[in-house]
């Protein structure tokens, strides 16, 4: 029970910090909308809806990266991460709290982006949206861990995309597949599998990334 209350306390902390600092979420919103507009000009006339879905996923991945790069910044000001690591709570709770908070921001950005996409490009059915939601879980779970890894070194903004993109490829496959395929179930199942496997792996290994 204390584990859950730790996670809740940490998630609330992250949401509160972002609500006050107000730098990450507006940037993500602006970025995703700007990307959609760029895509309009990048797509040739005859490109079908399918190409648009592909570009939607590119936008999602890079917007997520924007959010993830900033995810641990509050912890690195004033050395706060040390403070959290020193506490008797489970270190994985720190990761879980951060993952939930990042997920909240990503969902908020998508709550604007997806309707905009439907308006500007192509319709999204339930399977497509389900794909987005499932992929979001994977993105945030893996991304939070990798962001913590990258943050310990130099050139962290450069390193995180390099670490993250290969791992994001299966998510893009799942997401695009659930949007355009006539049998989206297999893609949704695949996304759920990815989430399960990588979330557990991230949860278990976070401890090793933040301690010596």
């Amino acid at each position: 029970m204390t584990y859950l209350s730790d996670v809740v306390a940490l998630t609330r902390k992250d949401l509160r910090v972002e609500l006050r600092a107000r730098d990450t979420l507006p940037a993500m919103l602006l970025f995703v909308l700007s990307s959609l507009v760029v895509f309009h000009f990048a797509l040739p006339e005859e490109a079908g809806d399918e190409a648009a879905y592909g570009l939607l996923w590119v936008a999602i991945v890079f917007t997520a990266l924007l959010g993830l790069t900033r995810a641990w910044v509050p912890e690195h000001e004033h050395g706060v991460l040390d403070g959290l690591v020193l506490a008797p709570c489970d270190r994985s709770a720190i990761w879980l709290g951060k993952t939930f908070a990042t997920l909240a921001f990503l969902l908020a950005a998508q709550a604007v982006a997806l309707p905009a996409f439907v308006l500007l490009f192509a319709p999204l059915d339930a399977a497509a949206v389900a794909g987005v939601l499932l992929a979001d879980l994977g993105i945030c779970a893996v991304g939070s861990l990798l962001a913590a890894m990258a943050a310990a070194g130099r050139a962290r903004e450069l390193l995180l995309p390099l670490l993250f993109l290969p791992l994001a490829i299966p998510l893009v496959v799942g997401g695009v597949g659930s949007a355009i395929s006539s049998e989206p179930e297999q893609y949704l199942l695949f996304l759920a599998l990815y989430d399960a496997v990588f979330a557990v792996l991230s949860w278990a290994s976070f401890e090793y990334v933040v301690t010596e």
Binding site: A150, L159, V173, F190, L193, F198, L201, V209, E212
Partner: protein, 209 residues
Amino acid sequence: MGAAIVLGLLVAPEDADQGISQRIFYIHVPIALTSYFCFGLGAWKALLLLWRADQRYDLESYVAIHQGTIFGALTLITGSIWAKASWGVWWTWSSNQLVLFLVLFLFYCAYFMLRFSLEDGPRRARSSAVYALFGIVLIPVSFLAIRLAEDFVHPTVFTREGPQMTATMFVAFCVSWAAVTLLAYVLYRVELAGKRLDAGLRELREAIG
């Protein structure tokens, strides 16, 4: 000495077949398999590092992954040559194996970027180990993803020739595989020894100076 044996063995399979595309197959597939094996070894050593907290495993994991990446690059190159020989193009997205290796190659290149950006020490060892474990899990997941992507990414234009091997070809293949594995093992030991020597020398220099 090991290298001489290996080279000798590598030459042998070339006699037993016809056509360059088949010949490349004898090298390409063993190299790919060896690459997987190296990544697996790297992940195993990484697990041992996290589990036993013995820094020794860091170097072993790193060298294994280094070898895996080198063989991975060779897989891509030989695969590209095979594609050119079989289908006339230097690259095709319809070869699942090639695409998988491209993804893995990018992933493990990022591994080296990670190591480069962190300072030497237990932090770097642990983060590298965790990333190595992610890599090994990524292999089957990516494979599945690529299979799923077949349906919509690019239509399969080229028919893939599954190797229909006669008995002698099979033997030649196994010999080649053994040879490449042996080569990889030798390179692994050599690089590991070299790196340990470097570390030992550095420590000596510091103790003196």
